[in-house]
Every structure is written in structure tokens, then in C-alpha cells.
């Protein structure tokens, strides 16, 4: 065996740079920056995001792309199939469906977004407080949720709609008043489970305040289910509005949401299929996009999935 000769003088203490010692190799990233980085890697989610952006853009400019407004009627040209004159055809009153579909997009998307964001926010805060504190607080808070929950959804919404003046605002209020309940329950369930996990115990031991534990630890950790809820609440809100339109409780004519248009179209499915196809297609596309995005967000926002 060959002896390697290393002179002892070669061994010198390394220079101790206190600054460098404390540095972290990986650049520090905020929670959201990290989420965005990972979202970008998820191709399906990006597709969803692009579709949603396109739909929103079309909702804004679509109604102005041809000479008709959403309410202009040419009765003699009712029920025309798609053509170079009417890109999506016309409806039973001879109104241009292209304009109506994009005008409907505004209403449906608005209902979807506003209802979903308000209800999820309320539900999340409510649910995490309830789940975290447990005991008496939880008991009372969940009792209230349960009471609201116990009223059949549809009956409740219809009653609310009838009590208030029909219209867009009422729809959003009525739907929002119902949807936050399920979020609250799910978040509470998650928090109940999470709060017994070690990292919460650790945070508490380190003296973290309650609000900090809820906001920094519990809510981010329940983001997965919340996002899933959110992606399901948007279509649900859009659907529920469609159903209300079907009962005559939707937005007031001649305005029309996608649900209203689709409901109009399904009746004419055999004679004028395009009247169903376009609104139904865009509803489905929207749902698909939200779901793809939702899944991507879910992976991106879950702190335990950080690599």
C-alpha cells in the first residue's frame, strides 16, 4: 500500500466568514412566488389559465365585435343557423347569438367569481376559527352553520330571491349566502385534523399567536381542499344561476346568462341545435378550464408538496 504523504502544514483553518455562514444557498422565496413557480411547470393548469383569460377577454370585447347589441331583434330572421352574417346564428327573437353569448359570459363569469370568492373567504375564516378553537366556540359556530345548512338549498335560494328584488345582486347574495357553509365545514374538518399535527404543536410551543397559527399554518395547509372547493363553487354558482333562470328568477331580460341561453337552447335542441351548442360549449369549456387550473393551484399551493 502506498503511503500518501500530505504535509501537516497544508491543513489550515478555513477562513470563517460570518456573513457567508448565515447565508442560505437557495434564494428565499415567498409562499406565493414559489406557488407561481410550480404552477408554471404544470402545463394543464397553464392551459386552464390561458382559456380563462381568453374567456374573460372575450367577455369584455366580444359584445362589440359586430354590429348588433345583445337586445337587437330582427324578428324576420329568427332561428337562423350560424353564417357569415350571424356567426353563432340567431335565437327565437332574431337576436345575434354571438353577441348574446359573450354578453352572457360577463354575467355568468361575474356570478361565478363573485359568489365563489366571497363565499370561500367567509367560509374559510369561519371554518378555521371554529375548528381551531374547538369546544364551546366550535359548538356554537357549527350549530349556526348546521342550522343554515339544514334548510334545503334550493328552497332557501328561491325564498331569498322572492323576498328580495330579482336581479344580479340578489342572485349573488342568495348563492353566496348558501355556498360559504360547505367551505366552512370542510375547512373546519381539515383544521380539526391538522391542529393535532406536530408542526402546530411546534408553532405553539414557540409561542406563535393564534391568528398566526391559523393564517400561516392552518389555512395554507388546508389550501388543497379549499381550492378544490373553489373550482367547484364557480361552476356550481353558474349552474345554480342557470337553474334560477329556468325558474324565471334569473337576471332580467333581455340580459341573459349562459345558463339562461343553454336552457333556452335545450328546448330547441332538435330544431335549432346551435342555440344549445354555443352556450353549452362555453359553459363546459369554462368548467374544464377552472378545474385544470384548480388542480394546478392545488399542487402549487400545498406547502408539503414543495420540492
Amino acid at each position: 500500500m502506498k503511503e500518501t504523504n500530505i504535509p501537516a502544514e497544508l491543513f489550515q483553518p478555513a477562513e470563517q466568514d460570518l456573513d457567508k455562514l448565515e447565508a442560505i444557498v437557495r434564494p428565499s422565496m415567498s409562499y406565493w412566488a414559489d406557488a407561481w413557480r410550480r404552477l408554471k411547470q404544470n402545463r394543464a393548469a397553464l392551459v386552464g389559465l390561458v382559456i380563462i383569460s381568453l374567456l374573460v377577454v372575450m367577455a369584455i370585447i366580444g359584445p362589440y365585435l359586430n354590429e348588433w347589441s345583445y337586445s337587437d331583434q330582427v324578428l324576420s330572421e329568427a332561428n337562423q343557423p350560424p353564417s357569415s352574417k350571424y356567426w353563432f346564428g340567431t335565437d327565437a327573437l332574431g337576436r345575434d347569438l354571438f353577441t348574446r353569448v359573450w354578453h352572457g359570459a360577463r354575467i355568468s363569469l361575474l356570478i361565478g367569481f363573485v359568489t365563489s370568492i366571497t363565499s370561500i373567504t367567509i367560509g374559510t375564516i369561519y371554518g378555521s376559527i371554529s375548528g381551531f378553537f374547538g369546544g364551546k366556540v366550535d359548538e356554537i359556530m357549527m350549530r349556526i352553520v348546521e342550522i343554515f345548512y339544514g334548510i334545503p338549498f334550493l328552497l332557501y335560494v328561491i325564498l331569498l330571491m322572492l323576498v328580495m328584488e330579482p336581479g344580479l345582486k340578489t342572485i349573488i347574495i342568495a348563492l353566496g349566502a348558501v355556498y360559504w357553509l360547505s367551505t366552512a365545514r370542510i375547512v373546519r374538518g381539515q383544521v380539526l385534523k391538522l391542529k393535532e399535527e406536530e408542526f402546530v404543536l411546534a408553532a405553539r410551543t414557540l409561542g406563535a399567536s393564534t391568528s398566526r397559527i391559523i393564517l400561516r399554518h392552518l389555512i395554507p395547509n388546508t389550501m388543497g381542499p379549499i381550492i378544490v372547493m373553489m373550482t367547484l363553487t364557480i361552476p356550481e354558482a353558474i349552474f345554480s344561476e342557470a337553474f334560477l333562470s329556468f325558474l324565471g328568477l334569473g337576471v332580467s331580460v333581455p340580459k341573459a346568462s349562459w345558463g339562461y341561453l343553454a336552457n333556452d337552447g335545450i328546448k330547441a335542441i332538435r330544431s335549432y341545435p346551435w342555440q344549445l351548442f354555443f352556450p353549452a360549449f362555453f359553459i363546459s369549456l369554462t368548467m374544464l378550464a377552472f378545474n385544470l387550473l384548480g388542480d394546478g393551484l392545488r399542487d402549487a399551493l400545498d406547502p408539503r408538496m414543495r420540492k
Binding site: 366550535d138 350549530r143 348546521e146 339544514g150 349552474f239 359553459i283 368548467m287 388542480d295
Partner: protein, 308 residues
């Protein structure tokens, strides 16, 4: 047992509040059960109101209702004069519940399967396929699905009858129209929570111990991942079992679902209250089952913790 007793008594209180809210709301909305396009002469309206005690002060009607309810009597329908609300529920609920049970079963099997497959193959084609399939379930409103399947399978292909409740064949189209949504929800919930569970330390520990993947999935992951699904299942069953207005309306199914809308349109006060009470009671019951199920499945949660 004391949990159940406590739960029961507080549920009664909840029911009372629900009845009160509904009672107030339904009397706030304009109109009454005897509105018709051809307006009835005053004396006839008076006779009708007297017959159904609608001329009593509201609080008397309220107290009377509660008294009758305590005896299990939900009162007569104001619109369908020989039918009582008890009859309506007794006849409609089994129909809706049968349909609902089939729907839930299918949704559970298909949804769990898709969710697990997707989670185990995260970001592979199985994942995308399963999620795409599940997404289609939430992408199309049920009235469109119902209209389409009726057109395709009943009118064009003549495989199934278009409507009425006459034997297993007539259940197929309504089940298809209803199953999409819960299947999708279950698949997505399952995928989401399964992914979460698979990342937990005890799964890693199990892997490190060299346990077979199958064992890990079935013994450890599934059981914990199913919690959100169970949470969802409670209210979902209550909702689906009490019927869907759209599907019952389109396929002419004599279920309970249509009453939740029709009773309001008719201002059939006793039916509005009756279906509300029934639904609420069912929901409370299902949620109690969920709590119990939670305690059984998740050892970290004990029933005694659930002070509600």
C-alpha cells in the same frame, strides 16, 4: 351515548330555528295558495282561508303547526286537497331515495376508483385521463345532460323509455343525468386528499420499512384519504336522496325533488315547511353518521371530542 343524546337535543333546537326561519320567509313573499288567474270572489277566498285556518293570526298558525308537528302531523296540502304532506313524503321519498342510492353507489365506486388511480399516477396520462373524465361530470349542467340523453337514448336509439317511473329500464337515463356531479366531486376530493396522505410521514415510514406499495395504499393511505369524501357524503346523500327538481321534472319521476320548488310556486305553505323539516332532519341524521364514521376511521378524532 351521551354524545348522541346531546346531539339529538341540539338538533331539535336547530330544527326549530329552521322552521321559524322558513315560516317567516314564506309568509314574507307575496302571494298565497289560492291565487289564480281568474280571481276568486271575496266570500270564496274567505271560505278557503277559514277552511285552512289561514285567517288565524300568524303566531297562532305557527304554534298550531308546531303542535301538530310534535304529533308527527305535517298537515294537509293546500293545493292537493286529498293529500297530506305526510302522504307526499311517504310516496315521493322512496322514489327519490332509490334513484339517489343508485347514484351514490355508482358515484362512490367510480369516483373513488378514478381518484385513487389519478393520485397514484400523479401527472401521468392516467391522472389526466381520470381528471378529464371527472371534470366532464361537473362541466355540463344536469338539465343539458338530461335533455341530451333523452334525445339520444330514448328518441333516437329507443333503448330506454323517455319518462315515467316504470321499472329498472326507466331508471337508467335519470341515473346517468344525476351521477356525473357526485362522481366528479368524489374523484377530485379523493385524488386531492390521497396525494396529501401519500406525502405524510407515516406513509414514508411505511415505505422505508419496506412495505409493499399495495399494502401501504390499502392499509394506510386509503383509510385516511377517504375522510373528506365521507364529509362530503353526508350532506350529499341527504341532498341526492331528496331528489332533483330538474331530473324529476324532465323524466316525470314521482319523487320528492319537485316539491322543493313547486311548493313555493304554489305557496303551499304546509308542503314548504314539511319538506324543509324532512330534509333538515335527514341532513342532521346523515351528519351524525359522518361524525361517527370520522371517529371510526380516524383514530385521531374521538367522538368525545365532538362536543357539538
Amino acid at each position: 351515548m351521551s354524545y348522541l343524546l346531546r346531539k339529538l337535543s341540539s338538533s331539535l333546537l336547530a330544527l326549530l330555528v329552521i322552521i321559524t326561519i322558513t315560516f317567516i320567509l314564506m309568509h314574507v313573499i307575496p302571494g298565497g295558495p289560492f291565487d289564480s288567474e281568474k280571481k276568486l270572489p271575496e266570500p270564496i277566498l274567505k271560505n278557503l282561508n277559514a277552511r285552512y285556518h289561514l285567517d288565524d293570526p300568524l303566531w297562532v298558525q305557527y304554534v298550531d303547526y308546531l303542535k301538530n308537528l310534535a304529533r308527527g302531523d305535517l298537515g294537509p296540502s293546500f293545493k292537493y286537497e286529498t293529500r297530506t304532506v305526510n302522504d307526499i313524503i311517504r310516496e315521493g321519498f322512496p322514489v327519490s331515495a332509490t334513484l339517489g342510492a343508485i347514484v351514490i353507489l355508482i358515484a362512490l365506486f367510480v369516483g373513488l376508483f378514478l381518484g385513487v388511480i389519478a393520485a397514484l399516477n400523479q401527472n401521468k396520462w392516467q391522472d389526466y385521463g381520470a381528471i378529464l373524465l371527472a371534470t366532464m361530470g361537473v362541466s355540463v349542467p344536469s338539465f343539458i345532460v338530461a335533455g341530451l340523453v333523452m334525445y339520444i337514448f330514448a328518441v333516437k336509439l329507443r333503448w330506454f323509455p323517455p319518462a315515467l317511473w316504470e321499472g329498472p329500464k326507466s331508471m337508467v337515463l335519470p341515473v346517468i343525468s344525476l351521477a356525473g356531479l357526485p362522481t366528479a366531486v368524489i374523484a377530485r376530493l379523493m385524488r386531492s386528499s390521497m396525494l396529501e396522505v401519500l406525502n405524510q410521514d407515516y406513509i414514508k415510514t411505511a415505505k422505508a420499512k419496506g412495505l409493499a406499495t399495495k399494502v401501504i395504499i390499502y392499509r394506510h393511505a386509503l383509510r385516511n384519504a377517504i375522510l373528506p369524501v365521507i364529509t362530503y357524503l353526508g350532506p350529499a346523500i341527504a341532498g341526492i336522496f331528496t331528489g332533483s327538481f330538474v331530473v324529476e321534472n324532465i323524466f316525470a319521476i314521482p319523487g320528492l325533488g319537485k316539491w322543493f320548488v313547486q311548493s313555493i310556486t304554489n305557496r303551499d305553505y304546509s308542503v314548504i315547511l314539511g319538506v324543509t323539516v324532512f330534509y333538515s332532519a335527514l341532513l342532521i341524521f346523515m351528519n351524525m353518521l359522518v361524525d361517527i364514521a370520522y371517529a371510526i376511521v380516524d383514530p385521531r378524532i374521538k367522538l368525545s371530542d365532538m362536543k357539538e
